[in-house]
């Protein structure tokens, strides 16, 4: 319990830090309005071109609510790769290593605190614009299922982001890995198009990879809550969290053994 208490304190401190600059927080969250407005224009034209009110069973309104949640997950996710890589490269990782908490759990607590606030603010702006353009959100009874999916998605993002950050132990520059990972999530996670609209071979491939559980799963749950889908999403997230989490802790332990810090 004592152990959880300190990470809870870090989580709360990060929430306060993020809230300390409300104007900056609001400006950064406004980007979702741009993205959703562009998507609304794009998909309106696409639905018109298809001559149907439904695309693979998804109505235009649901499509926009899907995109809203997918964007919220993406824009609110923990972005720690750069911070961790810098800490490794400039040696400031040493400052955290000799403190009475685990380096990875410290970053996890701080990252989730920031994600909670950024994600909530982004969802607020995104939800407002979609509501104004398309009408009310999906059935609120599905929201808790989607919220659980969002939490799992952010934990998965943390694992991959931290792995990229720790790559600084062996690589001069980690930013490109972060860019490419982000774009893989965009495409194989279904950020712009729900996976249902992909060619069958790509849909099948996506379901064998972690990306679908980072965006598509929670966003699909939001517009079409279903206990079967929920169990599938959570099951997939648990499997990938176990795999990526193990890999992360192994990489961290190996990296720390390689660490050489010169002077103070």
């Amino acid at each position: 319990m004592k152990h959880i208490g300190k990470y809870w304190a870090i989580f709360k401190t990060q929430i306060l830090n993020t809230l300390a600059y409300p104007a900056e927080l609001a400006w950064r969250s406004l980007s979702i309005i741009l993205f959703l407005w562009v998507f609304a224009n794009l998909w309106r034209v696409a639905y018109r071109a298809e001559g149907s009110g439904l695309l693979n069973g998804i109505a235009l309104k649901d499509m926009l609510w899907y995109l809203m949640l997918a964007e919220t997950i993406e824009l609110g996710k923990p972005r720690l790769a750069r911070v961790m890589a810098d800490a490794v490269k400039d040696g400031s990782v040493a400052y955290l290593l000799n403190k009475p908490y685990h380096f990875l759990l410290y970053h996890l607590s701080a990252g989730m605190g920031e994600s909670l606030i950024r994600g909530s603010m982004t969802a607020l702006f995104g939800g407002t614009i979609v509501w104004l353009m398309m009408g009310p959100p999906p059935d609120p009874r599905g929201w808790p299922l989607a919220a659980a999916g969002v939490l799992g998605a952010w934990l998965l993002h943390f694992c991959v982001n931290a792995l990229i950050g720790l790559a600084a132990f062996i690589s001069e520059e980690v930013a490109p890995y972060e860019w490419i990972y982000q774009k893989l999530v965009f495409i194989l996670g279904g950020l712009f198009i729900p996976l249902d609209l992909y060619p069958l071979w790509l849909q099948n491939l996506s379901h064998y990879l972690p990306f679908a559980y980072m965006l598509y799963g929670p966003a699909r749950l939001f517009i079409a809550p279903d206990i079967g889908l929920f169990l599938n999403v959570i099951g997939g997230q648990i499997f990938w969290l176990t795999t990526l989490g193990t890999l992360l802790f192994l990489s961290y332990n190996r990296g720390v053994r390689r660490l050489a810090i010169n002077g103070g």
Binding site: A23, E24, W27, R28, L30, S31, L34, F35, V38, N41, L42, V45, A46, A49, E50, S171, E172, E173, A175, P176, Y177, W179, I180, Q182, K183, L184, F186, I187, F192, I193, L197, Y198, P199, L202
Partner: protein
């Protein structure tokens, strides 16, 4: 006056390139990484047009062309004038002192003192994307590079305007980031998606049309009107940016901090 600055500009670019090449591994990772990043992003449009074939008269080849211009101009802008996207931070932190103390044009010197290495990856990807659009006659190629120069000028001008808000607002990095997101997002989508009000905004407030659709249309087929629009937009946005920066500079207050620019 302008003639004197050209060798200076080339000297800065050479120094930036040498600095970036000092770490070959990181340099190549960033350039190739950015090209791969853009290619993966473009898969979205391949999937989209696989399903819908065309959207309001735009097809996949048009998107290759649009990406060629947008990625190429962004890359060229941040590779040659990297501080265009960091100017607000320099102003807010009082780091203009360094440039003010030297006998060179402050804005030009500040802009070209930094090079974003990954921009070279964007620029190269832009050229590849143009070639994939299947319009590589000598006249299209000449128009592509002309369009690229104009789009770069509009992009850099717009960034200077957005970043110069720091003279009045102090730390306005989030607002400048929003402006950057806006121009890139709108430049990467077919302009035919938007209604007339939105189009008006894309020609004025956020001039994304001049960083994507207008130069892309000009590459497809020559028209005097498009050429005039591109030339005028480049002159207006760069002129306005210089004017606003100079006005802002009068409000600039030094932090009196000891600093070195490396």
């Amino acid at each position: 006056m302008i003639k004197r600055q050209i060798p200076f500009l080339f000297a800065l670019w050479k120094a930036n390139l040498q600095a970036a090449m000092e770490y070959r591994g990181a340099f190549l990772t960033q350039v190739l990484g950015m090209m791969l990043n853009n290619a993966v992003y473009f898969v979205f449009w391949i999937l989209f047009f696989d399903r819908f074939k065309q959207i309001n008269g735009w097809n996949l080849n048009d998107m290759f062309l649009l990406f060629g211009i947008a990625a190429g101009s962004f890359g060229l802008g941040v590779f040659l004038f990297g501080n265009a996207i960091f100017l607000g931070e320099i102003i807010a932190k009082g780091r203009l002192d360094y440039y003010l103390s030297l006998p060179r044009p402050v804005l030009l010197h500040a802009l070209a003192s930094r090079s974003v290495t990954s921009g070279l990856g964007d620029f190269t990807y832009g050229i590849i994307s143009f070639m994939l659009a299947g319009q590589i006659g000598w006249d299209n190629t000449a128009r592509f590079f002309l369009g690229l120069v104009s789009a770069t000028a509009v992009f850099v001008g717009f960034m200077i305007l957005a970043q110069s808000l720091a003279f009045w607002l102090g730390n306005s990095s989030a607002l400048a980031q929003l402006a950057l997101n806006a121009i890139i997002t709108f430049a990467l989508y077919p302009i035919s998606l938007f209604d007339n009000t939105a189009k008006f905004l894309l020609f004025t407030l956020v001039p994304a049309a001049f960083m994507g659709a207008i130069p892309a249309g000009f590459v497809r087929s020559f028209s005097w009107s498009a050429l005039a629009q591109l030339t005028l937009a480049a002159i207006v946005f760069l002129g306005l940016a210089t004017l606003v920066f100079q006005r802002g500079l009068r409000r600039y207050e030094s932090g009196s901090a000891i600093q070195t620019e490396i």
